[in-house]
C-alpha cells in the first residue's frame, strides 16, 4: 500500500522493522528527522531498542561498534561534518568486520559551512571499507536498508554499509512509498546471527595490532569481501524482487540506453531530473541515455563497461570534487573505460545544494558531444 510520507520518516519506519537492538546517533541536519522518529518509536515501545543519546558522532559510531561486537544488530544515521568526525571509527568498523548499517543523508562539507546537498561526505569515505549504495528516490532508500542489512550480515561479506540518500531533496520530501509490513520484513531479513561476538563463554580478542608480517593480509581480506559483496548484493536484490516486485539487484541501471550515442552517468536523486531531461532530448531526436550508479562501493567497473558498450560519449555528473584531481565518480569511470575508445567527460555539478535543471543536463550533453568537459558546470561568472 502506498502512503505519502516524508523520506526521513519512511527510512525510520523501515529501520524500525529491521529490528535494531541498539541505536546510537547524534543530531545533525538534515538527518535529524530520522533519529527523532526512531527516538519516539523507542519511547512509545513500538521499537524494542536501546537508544543511546551520545555526545558526538564519534561516540555514536563507537557505541555502534561495541554493540555490534557484543552481538546486536545496530543502526545509526549521520551526514556531512558528522561523518567526517566518524572518519577514524569508519575505518575501524570495517577493519573489525562489523556489519553496521548507517544512513547517510548526503550533505556537503565545510568550509564554507553548508547544510545543503551534495555527495562529498560519503564519497570522501570511499577508501574506508564500507559498502556504499545511493538511492534515487525514497522508495529505493527504504528498500536499500533491508537489502543492506542482508548483505552486510552475510558471513561472506561482514562489512558495514552506507545507505546514501540526498539531504533535503529526499530526506525532507514527501513521496508515495510502500513500507513493507513487519511480517514481510521478518520474512526477508532473518535475525542477526553474528559470526563472532564478545562473549565470556568464548573469550576472543578483537582489534589486535598487526605487524608488517600480517597487516596486508587483513586489508586484502576486506578488499576480497568488498568484491564478494557485489554477488551477495545481486542475490539479495533478486530475492527482494521476488518478494516485493521491485528490483535493485543490478549495481548499475540503464535508462533509454539501448541505442544511445551519449550516456549520462549519475548517482542519487539527480537521476530523476536526468530521466526527464533524456525524455525531452529523445523527443527532439537525440540518442541519449542514463546509466544510474546505485552501488559505488564495491565499484561496479565491469558492469559500467558492459552497460556502455556502443556508447561513444559519456558525461559523468559528479556531486563531489577530489580537490586538485577531479570528480571521484568520473575518475573511476575513466579507469573502467580506459582503452575502450569511449570519450569520458567529467562535470562537477550541484555542489552545496546548487540546483540543477533539465536544461543544464541538455547543455552538459551538448558540451560532452563537443568534447568539452572535465570542468565545474554552472559556476557564477564572477569567479571565472
Amino acid at each position: 500500500m502506498l502512503e505519502i510520507m516524508e523520506g526521513s520518516h519512511a527510512v525510520a519506519e523501515i529501520v524500525k522493522r529491521c529490528r535494531p537492538q541498539v541505536i546510537a546517533a547524534y543530531p545533525i541536519t538534515p538527518q535529524t528527522h530520522i533519529v527523532e522518529a526512531l527516538a519516539q518509536m523507542v519511547a512509545d515501545c513500538e521499537l524494542d531498542a536501546d537508544y543511546i543519546t551520545v555526545e558526538s558522532e564519534f561516540s555514536a559510531l563507537s557505541a555502534c561498534l561495541g554493540a555490534s561486537a557484543a552481538g546486536s544488530r545496530v543502526y545509526s544515521a549521520t551526514t556531512s561534518q558528522g561523518l567526517a568526525l566518524m572518519f577514524e571509527v569508519c575505518f575501524n568498523v570495517a577493519g573489525l568486520r562489523q556489519p553496521i548499517v548507517m544512513t547517510i543523508a548526503n550533505r556537503s562539507l565545510g568550509a564554507p559551512l553548508s547544510i545543503w546537498n551534495d555527495q562529498q561526505d560519503s564519497i570522501s569515505l570511499r577508501d574506508s571499507g564500507w559498502l556504499q549504495v545511493y538511492a534515487e528516490d525514497n522508495q529505493e532508500a527504504v528498500d536499500l536498508h533491508m537489502i543492506a542489512y542482508r548483505v552486510c550480515e552475510d558471513h561472506d561479506v561482514l562489512l558495514p554499509a552506507f545507505v546514501c540518500f540526498d539531504g533535503y531533496v529526499l530526506t525532507h520530501t514527501y513521496e508515495p512509498v510502500s513500507i513493507p509490513t513487519q511480517e514481510e520484513v521478518d520474512a526477508y531479513l532473518p535475525a542477526f546471527n553474528p559470526y563472532q561476538r564478545l562473549d565470556a563463554s568464548n573469550p576472543l580478542s578483537f582489534g589486535m595490532y598487526a605487524t608488517p608480517d600480517y597487516y596486508m593480509e587483513f586489508r586484502y581480506e576486506i578488499d576480497q569481501a568488498q568484491h564478494r559483496a557485489k554477488e551477495v548484493f545481486a542475490k539479495a536484490g533478486r530475492e527482494f524482487a521476488e518478494q516485493f516486485e521491485r528490483d535493485y539487484s543490478a549495481p548499475v541501471e540503464g535508462y533509454r540506453l539501448e541505442d544511445a550515442d551519449t550516456a549520462i552517468l549519475a548517482m542519487g536523486s539527480i537521476c530523476g531530473t536526468v530521466k526527464d531531461a533524456i525524455d525531452e532530448m529523445r523527443d527532439a531526436g537525440k540518442k541519449v541515455g542514463l546509466l544510474k550508479i546505485r552501488m559505488f562501493r564495491p565499484f561496479p567497473a565491469d558492469e559500467i563497461a558492459d552497460a556502455l558498450k556502443g556508447v561513444s560519449t559519456v558525461a559523468v555528473l559528479d556531486r563531489n570534487i577530489s580537490l586538485g584531481s577531479g570528480g571521484a565518480v568520473g575518475t573511476e569511470v575513466k579507469a573502467a573505460l580506459s582503452g575502450s575508445g569511449t570519450a569520458v567527460y567529467d562535470y562537477i555539478v550541484a555542489l552545496g545544494g546548487r540546483d540543477i535543471r533539465k536544461k543544464d543536463i541538455a547543455e552538459i550533453v551538448d558540451l560532452a558531444e563537443e568534447g568539452r568537459g572535465d570542468m565545474f558546470y554552472g559556476l557564477r561568472t564572477e569567479v571565472l
Binding site: 561495541g66 557484543a70 564478545l198 578483537f206 605487524t211
Partner: protein
C-alpha cells in the same frame, strides 16, 4: 570455559611488557578482581600493544580494542547490547592516562553522564609511554618528559596533574576510587566494588613505569609505595561525590620519591633546586590536608 590451565591467571604470561611494568601488574590484578564474567575494552597504548601482537593474545577474557580515544563509547554500546540480550557480563575499560585524561575525555564524559553500568579503570603512569614518554594531563609538576623537557628556562612539566577523579565524581558517578599497585588487595577490592556498583564507576590506579620514569625495574612497587608515603599519590574512595576513605600515612619528604627517578633528576643536578622541590612538597602537603591522610605523632603525655 577459557581453556586456560588450572591456576593460570586470566591475564596470562608471555606478553611483551618491559620487565617491572606497572601497568602489566595492574592488568593482572584487574582480572583477578573481575573474574571470567567480564568484557574488557582497552584503549590504544602500551597495554594494548604489549598484550595483543596478532596472532597472540594475553587476555583470557573477551577483549576489544578499537581506537585510542573511544573505549568509553565502545563500552557504552557493549553495555547497551548486553542489556538488550539479558546477558550478565560486566563491562570494564582499561585505558592509560593519555587515553583518559586527554584524548578520550569527550567519550568518557558522555558515557558517565548517560549513566552506563560500566567500570572505567585508568592505569596512570603519568605520560604517553607507548610513543616515547611525552607529557599528558596526568604528568605531575616538574616531571621532565620528551615534550616537557627540563631545560635552562623550564622546570619540566609546568602544570600539576588534572584531577580526573573529581571530574568524574562531578558527573554523578556513584563510585570513584584511586588505588596503587603497591597495595594489590586494596586495588582488587576497589575494582570489585566498582563492578558491583550499578552505574558508571571510575578507578584510577597508579602504575609506575620504570622505562618512562627512569628507575630500576626491580623498584616498581617501591616507587608506587613511596608516592603514597610522600603524599604525592593518595589512595581514596569517593561515594556519590563524598570522600569516604583515604589511606593515612606517616609522610616522608617528597625528595625521597623524586630523587630516585630520572624524570626528576634536574631537581638535584647540576644544582639542588630547593625552590621546585618546595613547590612539589606543597602539592603533597595540600593532598594531605585535603584528604586528611597525615598520621599525626601522638601528643606527648604531660
Amino acid at each position: 570455559m577459557t581453556g586456560l590451565p588450572e591456576g593460570c591467571d586470566l591475564f596470562t604470561p608471555g606478553h611483551r611488557a618491559c620487565g617491572g611494568c606497572g601497568p602489566a601488574l595492574a592488568a593482572r590484578l584487574l582480572l583477578k578482581a573481575t573474574g571470567e564474567n567480564v568484557i574488557v575494552v582497552n584503549s590504544t597504548g602500551c597495554m594494548e600493544v604489549f598484550s595483543t601482537p596478532y596472532p597472540e593474545t594475553t587476555w583470557g577474557v573477551p577483549w576489544i580494542h578499537s581506537l585510542f580515544e573511544n573505549a568509553a563509547a565502545v563500552a557504552s554500546g557493549i553495555e547497551a547490547s548486553l542489556k538488550k540480550q539479558g546477558r550478565s557480563e560486566k563491562v570494564v575499560c582499561i585505558c592509560g592516562d593519555g587515553a583518559t585524561f586527554d584524548i578520550g575525555m569527550l567519550c568518557i564524559s558522555g558515557a558517565f553522564e548517560r549513566g552506563h553500568d560500566i567500570t572505567y579503570v585508568c592505569y596512570d603512569n603519568e605520560a604517553y609511554m607507548n610513543t616515547g614518554i611525552q607529557r599528558s594531563g596526568a604528568t605531575p609538576y616538574a616531571a621532565s618528559t620528551t615534550t616537557s623537557p627540563a631545560g635552562a628556562f623550564s622546570p619540566g612539566n609546568v602544570r600539576p596533574k588534572k584531577d580526573m577523579p573529581a571530574i568524574l565524581a562531578a558527573h554523578g558517578a556513584p563510585y570513584v576510587a584511586t588505588a596503587s599497585i603497591a597495595y594489590p588487595a586494596d586495588f582488587e577490592k576497589k575494582v570489585r566494588r566498582a563492578i558491583n556498583t550499578p552505574g558508571p564507576c571510575y578507578v584510577q590506579v597508579h602504575t609506575p613505569c620504570c622505562t618512562g620514569w627512569g628507575f630500576e625495574s626491580g623498584e616498581t612497587i617501591n616507587m608506587a609505595k613511596l608516592a603514597i608515603e610522600t603524599g604525592l599519590w593518595v589512595n581514596y574512595e569517593m561515594v556519590n561525590g563524598v570522600v569516604e576513605k583515604a589511606k593515612k600515612v606517616k609522610r616522608k619528604p617528597v625528595e625521597e620519591y623524586l630523587s630516585r627517578q630520572k624524570r626528576f633528576q634536574h631537581l638535584f643536578k647540576p644544582s639542588h633546586r630547593d625552590d621546585l622541590i618546595a613547590e612539589i612538597q606543597k602539592i603533597a602537603d595540600a593532598n594531605a590536608e585535603r584528604f586528611g591522610t597525615d598520621i599525626k605523632p601522638k601528643e606527648p603525655i604531660e
